[in-house]
Structures are given as structure tokens and as C-alpha cells.
Symmetry: C2
Subunit: 348 residues, 2 copies
């Protein structure tokens, strides 16, 4: 297992998010990754590397995200501070957005309007270092996929935050700006794998990844998650979403009720892996969130730490070149144990 | 001029709104209407009445707003407090919403998800009394239109808050929950006027009203407002939005740049009134915001208090049965003077 590590992740550290009508401290904190690093120091499961400094495949980025979205993200912090120097002490959060019937084809010059146009929640603070951290995270995901794509490593883990699976073609949200799992899948395609699967095991539906690939037949997206009727991100993730156009049949959602324990969860994983096999995937991306853990403060499945060893084994049994991207998990002290259990169970 | 007054408006008093990334005290406050009432006491321009207690034409309401939206609003406060008794001390604000590609056909059971689905900003706090105040406001608008529709009064003013022109078929925002101007127009249609025009002179584009009537040929919507490239509510209000289907040609937007003074504004009003005449409107609804005032804290036109007398005269010259609904205006001390100037200039 090659581990590609984002050394810039601490540059993204939000202060507050809107959560159930009030501003609260951010759940998605730098500590999460530090616990993972500490656990990897105790239980080394692979070689730790960094992506080449200062390099990011912009063309690949533009195959996953729209140019106007990337341009917005690149300049957002400077625009925010230019509005008012006092903003330097505040995170930027959206507060107005285009609902049904409103236009997204005309890009307003107003900053708040663009911020709302490119987002789906007020829980994803944009800070001075968000763009640098997110870009380096994307570089980690691409580097991990290149290592697997070139055959240099059978498996790789993009150890990064902010997470990515909620970020869509032209929207951020759910603590995510750039979709690391989608970038890894796209890189695997470019490395020559003709059919690639993304399997999202985070507690929350991978709405960004689904949206990015919904019309494509070359990338299967599978997500096991809390039922969107009750669970964030709500507006996608139902079982009847199967893809469209060339992507018809190439999306599978496996929503599960709050309180689901490992036996039922593992049965869903088996079904997801069946679909990966049926699709004929030649390579696999696992969007690895560990907020399925029973102790997670914002989620409601009942997985225990030892279960993550079995998840790793089940994933390994698929027998595919595999890239992991690190997604959610907010029981900070156990994030490291649970994530490294997956990698240890996966082996190699 | 008949003045139909919402005695329940004080029940809607938001504490905070999200404004440029932070929670600030609400701009849309009960004081606004109290200043208007005080000015009307000094300069009585008509008879002051209340709508019949406890009655609201639910069928008319359902012609303007979707049943599932009305059902959400009716139960929203109780749901919010049921989530956590401590919520009784907090206003409810949306924090997650469906962006492009997300579903609105499935209604989540989660309260926050539904609140976001039915809104377009985080600046419109829903409080314990919002629904009662908004319903009574709708009753005022309908009663004003009934009085004009029956010929009992040549003109009427729905003196109410929260305002309404930003509320759409199934969304709230911009301090608005129910679209009073649209309800008045719909009532005028039912009273027998075959062609009705809504003329929106608030600083902000009447995005809710436009959306409600966009596909209809029997109601013309005209709005004079700050250019949505830079001004709230941003995502609608451009000149190329002319209506669709049966409503093609029945919407006119007249965006003006920040800093516009009365001469240019009045020329736009003349153009809007030309369109009302060309359309053959038999009755007029004026969505009367006075945030075009030079002293308004959140707007950027340069109208002076005496200009509002001319606006009233220009509107009267259209010679149509007219219903006014009260919309924005946040220079609280001058709201009464400016709004009553319009009514005085209008006369009778
Ligand atoms: Zn998650
Ligand atoms: Zn306004």
C-alpha cells in the first residue's frame, strides 16, 4: 500500500459551520488527519510519500470540475477579503442560492451570489488556505491513481483532507471542494483501465461523485449510505437513481436506515461488490469514510472498530487495483484506528 | 384609498439573518410598519380596515403556492421546536439546499432538508409567529383586491409585513413567505378582470412574482430593480427574461445600475407603464418597496422622499383600479414618509 500524504491539509481549518440553524465549531478538523497519521506511525501499513511539489494536472481537474467553478475557487478567498479587510478573520459561507427556476447560466459579478451558485450547504467554510489544501489533496488522489495505474503499486491511499465525495462538477458542500475520488477514477481511466468503479462506503451518500459520472458509461458509481429521506445530503442517494444516457445502469445506491449494524451493512457491501464485478471494473476507487462508526457524532450506523478489518478483507477479495481516498469520520479519536483497520484488513 | 392593515405583523420578528457570511440582526423588523402607521396617523390618506378575522381563501392560496410548500410552512415552527426544545429560543434558518442536479421531487422527512428545499436564502428567519403573520398578510392582500375587484374601492393598500414579492410557488426567501402581490393579482383575476399587471417598484427584483406567473398569459409582470449581476436576489431579473409558453412576452425586467437617480428611474417607470398599457391590463397591482430611497442601508438607488409623490402621480395616471402591497424599505425612520408620499401622490 502506497500512502500519498497531503502535508498542506492544515491550511484548511474552518472556524464555524451552519448546523441546524446555528453557527457551531467545524466537525471537519485537522485533528482528524493527525490521528490517522499517529495510528499509521504505530501500525505502518505502507510506504508514505508526498506528491511532487507544485504540480497538479490541470487538464485532469477540468475533466471533473467545470472551468468557471475552478476559477471561482481559485480566487474566492481574495475576493472575500477584498470586500472587507475584516473578513480575513471570518470564514466565507454562502447565504443565498439559486432555487428551482432561477438561472445558473449567467454568472453574477457579486461574490456572495457566485458563492451560493457554486454550493449546496452553509456547512463548508472557505478559509484562506482551503484552495491550497484542496489542490494538494487533489494532487494526492491523482498521484495515488497514477501509482496504481502505472502498476507501480497494486493499491494506494490518498491520505488527505478536506474530503471530496460531496463536491460535484460545479459545486462544493459537505466539507468538500474538489472530488478526490472522482479525480482518482478519471486518472485510472487515463492510465488505461477502460472500466473503473467508485465504491463509496462513507456514511453519507456520495452525491458529488454520482453527479459527476451520472451520464457516463465508463465509470460505475456505487454508494452505501444513510437513507437520504432522513440523512444528509438528502437530495440524492435514492435507490431509483440508476444513471442516465450512456450512464444508464451505471449508478447504484444502497441506502440503509439509521441504526444499521455491521451484518446488514456488510450485506450491502457484498451487493455493491457484486455490481462492481458485473460491471466488469478493471480498477476500483474506494471513497473511504469511517463515519459509519457507532461513536460518530453526526452519523447513525453501528459499526465497531473491528468491523473495519473485515471491510478491508472484503474489499481486497474483489481482487482489483485499488485507490482509497479519505472521506468522512468525525469520532476524531477513533478515526485513525478505524481507517487503518481497513488498510490492514485490505493488506498489501 | 382603502388601507387593509395586518394587526398580527408583530408576531413575525426575526432575531438574526445570515448576511455576508455572518449572523446579523434582521433588517426586516416590525418597526418598519409601525413607522408607516405613525405616518398614516399624521397624514390619513384613506380608511383603515382589517380583514375578517380567522378567514383566508385557501383555494386562492393554493393557486399561487404549491400544497406541499404551504403544508411545510404551516407545520415548520412546531417541527423545529420538536427537534429540540432549546430551538424555541432560536429562529429557524436553512443550511442545506438542492443545487443543480439534485432532486426536489422526493420530499425528505428530515426538517432541515425540507427547509432548504423550500428556500433560496439564509436571510429569512422563520419564527414562532411567522406563519400567523404571513397568513394574515395574505388575507390583507386578498381583501384589498376583493375591495377593488368588487368596485367597492378604486384603490387599496395592503399594509402588511412580512413582505411577499420574493416568495415563489414553493420557496421562501428575501424576508418573504407568501406572495401578497401575486395573491392580489390572482384575486383580481377571479373578480373578473381578464388581464392584470403586477408592477414591482421595490429595489430588488420580484423574483417570486416573476416565477409564479412566468408561464401565464393573463398576468403581466414588470419589475424595475437593481441589476441582478450585482444586486440581490441575483439569479433572476435580467432583461432577456420575457416569459415562456403562454406567458411569452408577458414579463418585463428593467434592471438599473447601482447609483441610479430619479430621472433615470422615472424613465424606467414610464417604460413599465407603457408595457402595462400595451398589455391591455384592466387592473394593476403595485409591489411597493421604498428601498429605492437614497438612505436605504442595503440598497443603492438615489431616490429622495419627494420623488415618491411623483411616483404616486405617475401610477395614478395609468388610470387603473390599483392594489398596492407593501414590500421592502429598510431606512426605518423614512419608510413611513416615503410610502405615504406614494399614496398621497396617487390620491383617492
Ligand atoms: Zn460522511
Ligand atoms: Zn427590496
Amino acid at each position: 500500500m502506497l500512502i500519498v500524504h497531503n502535508t498542506l491539509h492544515r491550511q484548511h481549518a474552518g472556524r464555524h459551520e451552519m448546523f441546524r440553524g446555528r453557527l457551531v465549531p467545524c466537525h471537519e478538523s485537522p485533528d482528524r488527519l493527525d490521528h490517522l497519521l499517529a495510528e499509521l506511525a504505530r501500525r505502518p501499513v505502507g510506504e508514505m510519500v508526498e506528491p511532487a511539489a507544485g504540480h497538479l494536472d490541470e487538464a485532469l481537474l477540468a475533466q471533473v470540475h467545470s472551468p468557471r467553478y475552478l476559477q471561482f475557487l481559485a480566487g474566492a478567498w481574495d475576493e472575500w477579503v477584498a470586500l472587507d479587510p475584516a473578513n480575513a478573520e471570518l470564514d466565507a459561507l454562502p447565504s443565498v442560492w439559486p432555487v428551482r427556476g432561477f438561472r445558473a447560466d449567467v454568472l453574477p459579478t457579486n461574490f456572495a451570489a457566485r458563492m451560493g451558485l457554486f454550493s449546496f450547504d452553509a456547512g463548508t467554510p472557505l478559509t484562506a488556505g482551503s484552495w491550497a489544501a484542496a489542490r494538494q489533496g487533489a494532487a494526492c488522489a491523482i498521484a495515488a491513481a497514477q501509482a496504481v495505474g502505472s502498476g507501480r503499486s497494486r493499491s494506494a491511499f490518498a491520505l488527505t483532507r478536506p474530503p471530496g465525495h460531496h463536491a460535484g462538477p460545479d459545486f462544493f458542500g459537505g466539507y468538500c471542494f474538489l472530488n478526490n475520488a472522482a479525480l482518482a477514477a478519471q486518472q485510472l481511466r487515463q492510465s488505461g483501465f477502460e472500466r473503473v468503479a467508485v465504491l463509496d462506503v462513507d456514511y453519507h451518500h456520495g452525491n458529488g461523485t454520482q453527479t459527476i459520472f451520472y451520464g457516463r458509461g465508463d465509470v460505475l458509481t456505487v454508494s452505501i449510505h444513510g437513507d437520504p429521506m432522513t440523512e444528509y445530503p438528502f437530495y440524492l442517494g435514492h435507490a431509483d437513481e440508476r444513471g442516465e444516457g450512456e450512464g444508464a445502469g451505471c449508478n447504484l445506491n444502497l441506502p440503509l436506515p439509521r441504526g444499521t449494524g455491521f451484518a446488514d451493512w456488510r450485506a450491502a457491501l457484498a451487493r455493491g461488490l457484486d455490481e462492481v464485478r458485473r460491471f466488469g471494473a478493471q480498477a476500483l476507487v474506494v471513497a473511504l469514510g469511517v463515519d459509519t462508526f457507532e461513536g460518530d457524532p453526526i452519523s447513525a450506523f453501528k459499526l465497531r472498530s473491528t468491523d473495519y478489518l473485515d471491510i478491508g478483507r472484503d474489499l481486497a477479495a474483489a481482487g482489483l487495483p485499488t485507490v482509497f481516498t479519505f472521506e468522512g469520520g468525525y469520532a476524531v479519536a477513533e478515526v485513525g484506528i478505524n481507517a487503518v483497520n481497513v488498510l490492514e484488513g485490505f493488506g498489501a
